[in-house]
């Protein structure tokens, strides 16, 4: 019997080659896409889950009640960790965590490595197993360091690196360190990535900030004792914050901040390590959101859903052709179950082939997928017993349901009706209509999402940021030389080149450079009885001119004035923050000096990500602190040539350091890479969804035409025109698209509005955008359906009216 089922299934599928192909193509694409997308989101969701102590590991953050609302920071001062461990009960282990670049040299080799400065407990808290060396406590000594296997290979090649000494540039000095352990390369799903781990006490800021509670620059991770809850710890830490942040609390109170529910102005919080990758602090509180990841998973399921709806609708559409067969089989003695199994085995066949092809497709497309969506997700994540079991069950379930539903409908038909070839159309249409409405709602939702995303990305790309991003390139100054010396040499090298318009430097980059790092440096001080916070930027001469910033008041730093290192320039936001009528008469209390006069005000420009509003900013010409990034402005002609000239010049100055230059517009693009990736993803998703929906529509037009052949014939005989018949056939279904539009638009509107809230500068949502997506859906739908309806309308009515 089973053999027979499959034989019949095969012949039926072969007979309806067109349908079978459409179904298999649709389902394979859907399965392939679903595999890739769920792989990506599973990859994201498994971030930081590999730590054996994961349940008790937390990152600390502090919530401040400020007059403007709450602010959250994860940066802590140097004495914080030790004090916390000794004063608040419940901590098993604690480590400070600072991530920087470190220039490591061994013999002739010089490499810039991604370094973390941590306490000795780091390797016993987190699961980064030590493959070689001291497995228990590799960071026992202040001068011991741990490198990863890959890094060890880069530095030492094949040789055994344990005990080798390398020198690392700390605070401008070469210091020796000894390799005491090699850590196995960590899983990809790791937000605490590092290439080299050093003792925290060795970091450049340590000595200066040992006792200072005001200098917050690193993160702190804790491991709670067994049975201690994060919430309990947060409660018991209040005495600690009240003691150590007393002055800060009082200042906040004085400035008019409102205390939180527990009556405090500061509250320590713990963030589980598994949430770290999904947490954003930009809204003033720890917002844990896996939304984007679930969105990807959601798109995967939506696409799968659309393909399954197609399958169901197409199976039902085809059932009218198979009525006689069903009736005949029933008279031959087939029972419901047997018919069900027969039709189901056909579905099973299609699904098995589709799943197989889908897997094949995902394997073939994996590389493109990884590049296009910038993910390092791979199949490894899917090859776990749990995932395989879940997906097998899921696929079986889909097959059972999607294949079973039409099979059930068909097997339940009455014998006589089916023998006569009449389809009972009541009720069933409602299911079909509902499915099509859902299908089109999804398509319209995705189309609107695509349009909104791209408009926002476009907007961010084209927004005037207030500085010249096209002609200026920046690169990190991370060589051995003192940065001022390096920049002087660079000026000399490039002098006289007509294509170079200016050279300058600062301690921070604009946008995200090729080195991938971004940071914020905030300075808070007392000003006329209130607390003022400003971003600070150390610049070199010509910064304002080179970047094309606009001075609205005063002057720029001048090389010829001796005292300019004592003066500051601010932006308009800062001027507003100070609240002075004439900011040029104000002085800021920098360091121990009596006050640094403000000599100029620049027009506000987006020095941070576009998603953020422009904050107060102060420029310093502080020759004591080093510059980290050089900026070179070039003429708009021959830009790639100029780029090469600059690279050559820098190579001459720092022969051992890689040149990571890029134009500022590329840097800015990198800051919304996530949005672009998401836009690409949603676009691909909606294109696939639309194509699949169209396949489904095509099937539906077949169904309509098949059901109404006789009606069409009669209408034609009594004189209906082709146009009127096409209209009648299309009308019903257009109604469905309109309903879908009405359902999808408010949802799309809500999502888009919610998403745009994340951006300080965003597009305005207009109805035209949603109307456009609706019209697009209608147009695509009409085009798809018209081929079949017009054909039916011009067919000879004799054929449809002939009985038997």
């Amino acid at each position: 019997m089973l053999k027979n089922y499959f034989k019949i299934a095969w012949r039926n599928l072969w007979k309806n080659r067109l349908f079978t192909t459409i179904n298999i193509v649709g389902l394979s694409v859907a399965f392939g896409v679903a595999i890739l997308l769920s792989m990506d989101s599973l990859h994201e969701l498994s971030y930081d889950k590999f730590h054996a102590n994961g349940d008790s590991l937390y990152k600390t953050f502090i919530t401040w009640q400020t007059p403007k609302g709450t602010e959250v920071g994860t940066s802590q001062p140097t004495p914080f960790a030790n004090a916390l461990q000794s004063e608040v009960p419940g901590i098993e282990k604690i480590t400070r965590y600072l991530e920087t670049d470190a220039l490591v040299s061994y013999n002739e080799k010089e490499i810039n490595l991604d370094a973390v400065w941590v306490d000795a407990d780091f390797f016993s808290m987190f699961t980064f197993p030590i493959a070689q060396g001291d497995k228990k406590n590799p960071l026992k000594d202040l001068s011991s360091i741990v490198v990863t296997e890959t890094t060890a290979n880069k530095l030492f090649g094949e040789k055994n690196p344990i005990g080798k000494t390398v020198t690392i540039l700390v605070n401008g000095k070469q210091e020796p360190f000894t390799i005491s352990g090699i850590a196995a390369d960590s899983p990809k799903e790791n937000s605490l990535e590092f290439e080299i781990a050093l003792r925290f006490e060795k970091n450049a800021e340590y000595e200066e900030t040992k006792e200072r509670w005001g200098a917050q620059y690193h993160e702190v991770y804790v491991q709670l004792q067994n049975g201690v809850l994060a919430t309990d710890f947060e409660k018991s830490s209040r005495a600690f914050t009240n003691l150590h942040y007393k002055e800060a609390s009082e200042r906040l109170k004085r400035d008019g901040a409102l205390p939180n529910v527990s009556g405090n102005f500061l509250q320590l919080g713990l963030l589980s390590i598994t949430d770290v990758n999904f947490t954003s602090f930009t809204k003033g509180y720890a917002e844990i959101s896996r939304g984007a990841t679930y969105l990807v998973l959601g798109v995967a399921f939506l696409i799968l859903f659309i393909a399954c709806v197609n399958f169901i609708n197409m199976s039902i559409a085809r059932s009218s052709q198979r009525l006689r067969e069903i009736g005949m089989r029933k008279t031959l003695g087939a029972e419901k179950q047997q018919l069900f199994f027969q039709f189901w085995s056909e579905s099973l066949f299609v699904f098995l082939v589709s799943v197989g092809l889908g897997i094949l497709l995902s394997v073939v497309l994996l590389n493109d997928f990884q590049t296009l969506f910038r993910t390092s997700a791979s199949f490894e994540i899917l090859i776990s017993p749990k995932i395989i079991l879940i997906s097998t069950v899921l696929i079986l379930f889909i097959t059972l349901f999607v294949g079973g539903y039409p099979a059930l409908l068909l097997s339940r038909l009455g014998t006589i009706q089916s023998l006569k070839g009449k389809l009972e159309t009541s009720g069933k249409n409602r299911v079909r209509d509902a499915l099509i409405v859902v299908q089109f709602s999804i398509a319209i939702l995705l189309i609107s999402g695509t349009l909104v995303l791209w408009e926002q990305v476009e907007y961010m790309q084209n927004k005037d940021l207030g500085y010249d991003k096209e002609q200026v390139l920046s690169f990190p100054l991370d060589g051995k030389r003192n940065s001022y010396a390096a920049i002087r040499l660079l000026r000399n090298e490039l002098a006289g080149n007509p294509n170079i318009l200016g050279v300058t430097a600062s301690d921070n980059n604009l946008g995200r450079g090729k080195d991938g790092s971004q940071y914020t440096s905030v300075w808070g001080f007392e000003y006329k009885g209130k607390t003022v916070k400003t971003n600070s930027l150390v610049v070199d001469y010509d910064y304002i001119k080179t970047l094309g910033l606009e001075l609205v008041q005063g002057r720029s730093f001048d090389n010829n004035r001796e005292n300019d290192s004592q003066v500051v320039i601010i932006n308009e936001s800062m001027a507003r923050e100070l609240g002075e009528d004439n900011p040029l008469e104000a002085q800021l209390p920098v360091g121990d000096s009596l006050g640094s006069p403000i000599i100029g005000v620049v027009k506000d420009y987006n020095f941070q990500d576009i998603s953020k509003a422009i904050e107060p900013l102060t420029f310093f010409l502080d020759r004591e602190s080093s510059l980290n990034y050089a900026y070179v402005k070039v003429t708009p002609v021959n830009m790639s040539n100029s780029f090469d000239v600059i690279e050559a010049a820098y190579k001459k100055i720092e022969p051992n350091t890689a040149f990571l230059g890029s134009f500022l517009d590329e840097n800015v693009d990198r800051t919304f890479r996530r949005e672009k990736t998401m836009a690409t993803l949603i676009t691909s998703g909606s294109v696939i969804a639309i194509i699949l929906s169209c396949i489904g529509l095509f099937a539906m037009s077949l169904l309509i035409v098949a059901q109404r052949t006789k009606e069409i014939g009669i209408r034609k005989v009594i004189g209906a025109s082709v146009i009127s018949i096409t209209y009648i056939l299309t009308k019903d279904f257009l109604k469905l698209v309109v309903v879908a539009f009405l359902i999808a638009t408010p949802i799309a509107w809500w999502f888009a509005k919610d998403w745009l809230q994340n951006y300080a500068y965003h597009i305005d949502l207009s109805w035209s955008l949603f109307t456009l997506s609706g019209l697009l859906a209608v147009a695509i739908a009409v085009l798809t359906i018209s081929t079949k309806t017009i054909k039916a309308a011009i067919a000879n009515p004799l054929n449809s009216l002939r009985d038997e």
């Binding site: 027979n4 012949r11 007979k15 067969e325 005949m328 031959l332 047997q338 038997e804």
Partner: protein, 220 residues
């Protein structure tokens, strides 16, 4: 006695009115009979045949088949009953297009869960008996109408039914093919198979042992 219909009524409600398809039908069929049901279009011939074949239900009355009360039986048992004892032949043959002749013959046996070897033997036997061994691997579309109906009859017979119900079996055939099929029926009848056929043709009806005339759902 093979079957007995007592006061069978069947109706549909249309526009608040009850329209009778079958009205007070009383019919007794003995084993070995060859009955022809005749009557004008719409008189209820096919409906009666479908009721007898248990493909269709009725609204009132009693139906006994081999001492079983069909009107009281559950769907499943009813289908077992007709699977066991009844074979159908249709005007438009209703062969399964995607199956070969041999597979079409095999189908009822599969539904009756007959074992493989026995099934093969029965199919071979039937092919032999109807002289269609040479056509066993052809599909219905490759056969003439007469040949298709021959396969249809063979299929109806393969499960050794007691009763064959034929709904205008020669309606789509030319006169020569018709005659062949009717001769076949006559021969089967002499071998002991009970046959009930619906027909328009007096000539075909003459093959039978008894004629039941229907008009507007009533026996006359």
């Amino acid at each position: 006695m093979l079957l007995q219909l007592n006061n069978i009524f069947k109706w549909v409600n249309s526009g608040g009115q009850r329209i009778f398809l079958l009205k007070d039908i009383n019919l007794q069929v003995e084993e070995g009979e060859f009955i022809s049901i005749m009557g004008p279009s719409g008189s209820g011939k096919s409906t009666l045949l479908n009721v007898i074949g248990m493909l269709d239900g009725f609204d009132e009355g009693e139906y006994n088949f081999l001492d079983e009360s069909v009107h009281n039986l559950k769907e499943k048992l009813r289908s077992n009953l007709y699977k066991e004892y009844i074979g159908f032949v249709f005007q438009s043959y209703h062969l399964l297009d995607e199956l070969t002749v041999q597979e079409n013959l095999e189908m009822p046996l599969l539904y009756k869960k007959v074992k493989g070897a026995e099934r093969k033997a029965m199919v071979a036997d039937m092919l032999d008996r109807f002289n269609i061994v040479g056509k066993k691997d052809l599909f219905p579309a490759q056969l003439s109408g007469g040949q298709q109906q021959l396969v249809g009859v063979a299929r109806a017979l393969i499960a050794n039914p007691k009763l064959i119900l034929a709904d205008e079996p020669t309606g789509n055939l030319n006169s020569q093919q018709s005659e062949e099929i009717m001769e076949l029926f006559k021969q089967l009848n002499t071998e002991g198979v009970t046959i009930i056929q619906v027909t328009h043709s007096e000539k075909n009806a003459a093959y039978g042992s008894r004629i039941v005339n229907l008009l507007d759902g009533r026996m006359i």
